[in-house]
């Protein structure tokens, strides 16, 4: 049994299902990457794992307990952290306050964690007093990831964390993600910078029209010519 298991999830926004028996899993200290064409249901699958989408079938369990019926809020407390694809910062609050909000459920002193975030994304230290809404696209993305890290989650879910960030920051992000994973946190992320992402992934999922098309280790998927051609841009 893996740390997170999302088994045969089926569901959608309205009458029609977007997900069809979609299965995902990731263990502590592992990185799982979901890739696939636009509109394949990757974000939807993430939302389903996080309890933001009603499932018609399938179940989600975390650390052996079934959490299928928990609300997103309860899942946060159960140790899940999530960075959505869009609208992922508090635009009217300063960078620092954004991070503080990430630590909302924590009662201990979170200043160390904040320091770590700042050293990972130095630009944020400079901009700590500026409202996040005034940041550039890439800067916001850094705030968003920083906010999720503040929770000290045991499962971190990232929906395209590197969209719009510069190569150098992307590398650092991936580095950090590796580090985070190394501390025993499970990481589930969606990526379009798929080659870089799969390169660091322990598990890779290719999702097409809400179904698992390929599932393998990151390396294996990268090596698969069909996957490369159809989904990774050659």
């Amino acid at each position: 049994m893996t740390f997170l298991t999302a088994d045969a999830m089926t569901g959608g926004y309205g009458a029609a299902d977007i997900l069809h028996a979609c299965t995902l899993a990731v263990d502590r200290g592992e990185i799982a990457v979901i890739v696939g064409p636009n509109g394949a249901g990757k974000s939807t699958a993430m939302k389903a794992v996080f309890g933001m989408l009603p499932l018609r079938a399938g179940h989600v369990s975390l650390d052996g307990t079934n959490i299928t019926t928990l609300s997103p809020q309860e899942r946060v407390r159960a140790g899940m952290g999530f960075v959505p694809q869009v609208r992922n910062v508090f635009v009217s609050m300063s960078v620092e306050e954004n991070l503080e909000m990430g630590a909302f459920i924590r009662d201990d002193d979170f200043h160390d964690t904040m320091e770590q975030v700042f050293s990972l994304f130095p630009i944020l230290r400079q901009k700590r007093r500026q409202p996040a809404g005034e940041l550039s696209g890439g800067q916001r993305q850094q705030v968003a990831v920083g906010r999720a890290l503040m929770t000290k989650p045991s499962l971190l879910m990232l929906d395209e964390p590197t969209a719009g960030v510069s190569p150098i920051v992307m590398d650092e992000l991936f580095d950090k993600i590796l580090e985070v994973a190394a501390t025993g946190i499970a990481i589930l992320m969606v990526e379009q910078n798929a080659r870089q992402a799969l390169a660091i992934a322990d598990r890779g999922y290719v999702l097409v029209q809400g179904r698992n098309r390929f599932t393998d280790t990151g390396e294996a998927l990268l090596a698969d010519p069909e996957v490369r051609r159809t989904f990774l841009g050659g």
């Binding site: 630009i123 005034e134 890439g138 190569p167 920051v169 580095d175 950090k176 590796l178 379009q192 910078n193």
Partner: protein, 263 residues
């Protein structure tokens, strides 16, 4: 084609663009890269008329267009996409595209009321064009979906699609690639090349995917801290130490690193 001269835009104390001078040659595909917060989007927004510059000038085809409104620039052939998709959420994908072309008689109330024939004829043309674009973007299955319900990447495609609805002189693309599947991005790249060669569109694009930039763009302009750092052929630029230091980086440290990177 576009000439920007010593442009400044300051938000209070923040110098988002701080004396940038840029030339975009007719018929080129110019790349604009730079670290996050370098001022690329802001520069775009100034050129596209969304912000008035604090100082400096913008020329389009030798004409001073500084401070013209976006819709006026559109009619001069300048189109743009938004980094954060700006779809019309309560219109369908097809309608999103159909509303783009200018000079639709149906958009004039008088004609809409009293000249149904003319309106219908033009609608048919516009619709045909929209369907072409939809096919091109490989999204026919969502043609009648409300744009608000699209996935993140589909919205970006729609952004690009809108620029294809009219014959533009110059198109500004703000990170069309972010969030778009790489295979599809290649197709988009082909489309851009085709539009550039066959229709003579000039492109200027912000992008963080260096493969994409490398494949399409020449020259590449590198911005940092509101200024132009360097301009050149992508291969040259990518070798430039300053660019590597500020922007490109040197790849992942290692696969299972445990030490923090340099702050």
């Amino acid at each position: 084609m576009i000439r920007v001269e010593d442009l400044h835009l300051h938000f209070g104390g923040i110098r988002a663009v701080d004396g940038a001078s840029v030339n975009i040659a007719k018929g080129s595909i110019t790349g604009l890269i730079g670290p996050n917060g370098a001022g690329k989007s802001t520069l775009f927004n100034v050129i596209a008329g969304l912000y008035r510059p604090t100082s400096g000038k913008v020329w389009l085809d030798g004409e001073d267009v500084t401070g013209l409104s976006p819709h006026a620039l559109f009619h001069k052939g300048l189109l743009r996409t938004f980094q954060i998709a700006h779809e019309f959420a309560s219109l369908t994908v097809r309608e999103n595209l159909m509303m783009v072309p200018a000079e639709q008689p149906g958009e004039v109330l008088w004609d809409a009321w009293f000249k149904p024939g003319r309106v219908r004829a033009r609608e048919a043309e516009v619709r045909a064009r929209a369907d072409e674009v939809i096919d091109f973007l490989e999204i026919p299955h969502v043609a009648d979906e409300l744009a608000g319900n699209l996935s993140g990447g589909q919205k970006k495609l729609l952004e690009l699609g809108r620029t294809m609805m009219v014959d533009a002189k110059i198109v500004f693309l703000d990170e069309v690639g972010a969030g778009v599947n790489r295979t599809l991005l290649n197709t988009i790249g082909d489309a851009i090349l085709r539009l550039n060669r066959e229709r003579g569109y000039t492109f200027c694009m912000v992008e963080h995917d260096m493969d994409f930039i490398g494949r399409l763009c020449d020259p590449v302009i590198v911005m940092a801290e509101g200024k132009v750092l360097t301009v050149g052929h992508p291969a040259e630029v990518m070798k430039n130490e300053a660019v590597i230091e500020a922007y490109l980086g040197r790849g992942l440290k290692n696969r299972k690193a445990s030490a923090m990177g340099p702050a």
